[in-house]
Amino acid sequence: MTCFRYILALAIKEFLALLRDKRSRMVIIGPPIAQLLIFGFAATYDLNNVPVVIFDEDRGVAARELVSRIDGSPNFQVVTTISHDSEIAPLIDNKEALLVLHIGQNFSADLMQGRTAPLQAILDGRNSNTAMIAMNYLRTILLDYNRSWLESQGRSGPLVTLQTRTWYNENLQSRWFIIPGIVGLLTLVVTLLVTALSVAREREAGTFDQLLVTPLRPTEILIGKAIPGIVIGLLQATLIIVLMVLFFNIPLRGSIGALYLGIVLFLLSAVGIGLMISAIAATQQQAVLGAFLFLVPSVILSGFATPIANMPQLVQWLTYLNPLRYFLVVVRGVTLEGDGYALLMNQYWPMAIIGVASLAFAGWLFRNRMY
């Protein structure tokens, strides 16, 4: 019973140390919400209003029809038309156009005579992903255009067609993919910093040695230090999830219990790693930089923005050590795919192992790293 009282007292002291300072309170609550709002709108791979320049040497009806289809798409916006080859390079170089469409002189004539008419697309490849997405949009418009041209000529298109349906994210909005990821990202940032600084702050002030000579056992110190991180992480995750559902209209199709089991296990591993960093660091500066050295690779290797399946095998093995990797599958699984406990089992146990192992190691460091 006394042991609970000790832990409780320590946890309260930790909360006070953290929340006493007005600026500390502010950075825990304000910025994460601002970030969710800004990044939620900013982080999207969907393109709209891609600046397009038309270089139409044909000027026939067929060419005009194609241009109006492109201009009519929300993804593209025709910014200007040019009439000379030499105008292409400066427009692309200066980033005034991402795409230049060159319609050759014989475009309409070729079409009328049933020959294949080439359409040349010149793209700014500086951001290759944007170029590739713009290309895909253009292809879809062309497929449509070809079909309706053949129909208008009384000929049928190819008999074998594709009937595509997408599951879980029916309209392929990248926001639906990114925002659940931000839940994991922001929760990790705050939890990790709160815990990473907790021991280092006391080391730097010299009060950690005092703490070690109190009747508290190292395990109790560990639990007392872990509680604030978990509580703050839980509150923050809840707040972000509420905003995600109410403000960004991301569906929550699966079981909330399964989501919270994931959050608790994820927080356990984040707190464990934070305390480990804190126990190793001698100063607060080292703790923040250490947290950062962990944070950056773990965000990159989590599947937050780029898929894990595209990474080389060696790097993919490395991602198995990353708790965020599992948590992102849980959040996206519960929100978009409607998963329950059973489908997420393979994500739960690795987080639990990482959590227990890192907490145990942090506890060992508390006892054995004294200077």
């Binding site: 300072d21 600026r23 950075v27 910025p31 970030q35 990044f39 709108f41 900013a42 982080a43 999207t44 393109l47 209003n49 891609v50 170089d93 200066n94 980033k95 294949t116 359409l119 040349q120 490849g125 500086r126 951001n127 290759s128 992903n129 944007t130 170029a131 590739m132 997405i133 253009l138 292809r139 062309l142 255009y145 053949l150 000929r155 190819p158 008999l159 074998v160 067609t161 594709l162 009937q163 595509t164 599951w167 879980y168 392929l172 990248s174 600084l197 100063t283 607060q284 500066q285 930089l289 950062f292 050295l293 950056v296 990159i300 923005a305 780029t306 898929p307 595209n310 990474m311 080389p312």
Partner: protein, 368 residues
């Protein structure tokens, strides 16, 4: 002389703390290797399930097209239910479904649709997968038409030419952008922490009562970190060019000048954060939230700025990394495009003046 002493003291502080050195050298290497080798937006070997309800020559040749493609890893399933189950459990990313009437429809001259189901959770990958499926389908259509003695009617065909990055390799744009992020970390995060520590320990006040003038104090603080940041930058450029084979088509001196300008802006922001925060926890949080995350998400490094909502685009104008990423991607991949480089450098210069004035005024206030 006093200034030299101050620089000496700061340099020693950097050299003695392993964490500063690791931020300047270890982190860039880790990041560059992760981004250079680890991260790719170019999908390879997408696992797809193929369901053929009534096998014959047409469906076999279609399945063969997917098996030979370098983009797909096909798995065969007997029923659509099994395939859907596998999609549900995330073993495959897409399904191609040829129903039992596929070939009879084709022979009868009726439309024969292939059912395609794609896991859309990662919409970007889903788009890419869809593009590859379309490409494979079109190539098969024209081969199939040829094998039966006529050609595929194709009114307009697309010829694409991608400038600056013909192979559309995502590494070529991620690695230059990363230099902006690395310099943001050295410039803002490290500086904010170090100076916040001086405030926290009260050594900043101690420095202020020395004969050092405020200008010398700031210069003494900034010069060592400027040197550290520029070294980290040169190191990253060398890695980018030699290790990751990113072409440097612009001139090196222009890269150096614009990097120096960006480094100064990052340092000024780091200073400002430390003055406002006065303790390391707040400084660390602020530096990550105000400089690092925006450099990652709002700079055009990964996400296209033009596609963001109007009000977010306005906010991106306050992110210095936005201008530097544009300069980096242009200098590395396109060359010395003066209008792009100069306008972005101009914006950085304005930010520099603004932040330095703020730092100057804030520092003065505390001397009184």
């Amino acid at each position: 002389m006093r200034l030299l002493g101050m620089i000496h003291k700061e340099s020693l502080q950097i050299l003695r703390d392993p964490s500063s050195i690791s931020i300047a050298f270890v982190l860039p290497v880790v990041l560059l290797f992760l981004f250079g080798y680890g991260v790719s937006l170019d999908a390879k070997l997408i696992p797809v399930g193929i369901v053929i309800e009534q096998p014959d020559t047409a469906t076999q040749s279609l399945a063969g097209a997917f098996e030979r493609s370098e983009f797909f890893q096909p798995y065969h399933f007997d029923s659509i239910q099994t395939a859907q189950q596998m999609l549900n459990e995330r073993h495959i990313d897409g399904i191609l479904w040829m129903r039992s009437n596929f070939s009879s429809n084709l022979l009868a001259g009726e439309e024969a649709p292939i059912g395609v189901i794609i896991n859309g959770v990662d919409s970007n990958q889903a788009n890419i997968t869809q593009g590859y499926i379309q490409g494979t389908w079109l190539a098969w259509l024209s081969r199939y038409a040829e094998s039966r003695g006529h050609s595929l009617p194709m009114p307009v065909s697309l010829e694409q030419r991608v400038w600056f990055n013909a192979a559309l390799s995502s590494r070529l744009f991620l690695v230059p952008g990363l230099i902006a992020i690395i310099m943001t970390m050295i410039g803002s995060l490290l500086t904010a922490l170090v100076v916040a520590r001086e405030w926290e320990r009260g050594t900043m006040e101690a420095l202020m009562v020395t004969p050092l003038r405020i200008g010398e104090l700031l210069a003494g603080k900034l010069i060592p970190y400027f040197a550290l940041g520029m070294t980290g930058m040169l190191f990253s450029v060398a890695l980018a060019v030699w290790q990751f084979e990113v072409p440097l088509r612009g001139s090196l001196w222009l890269l150096m000048v614009s990097s120096a300008l960006f480094m100064l802006v990052a340092l000024a922001i780091g200073m400002l954060i430390s003055i406002v925060a006065k303790n390391q926890f707040v400084a660390g949080q602020l530096a990550i939230i105000v400089t690092f995350l925006p450099a990652f998400i709002l700079s055009g490094f990964l996400f296209d700025i033009n596609s963001m909502p109007e009000w977010v685009q306005l906010i991106t104008h306050l992110v210095p990394a936005r201008y530097f990423v544009a300069i980096l991607q242009t200098l590395f991949l396109a060359g010395d495009v003066w209008p792009v480089v100069l306008s972005n450098m101009g914006a950085l210069l304005i930010m520099l003046l603004f932040f330095f004035t703020l730092v100057w005024r804030k520092s003065h206030k505390h001397l009184e």
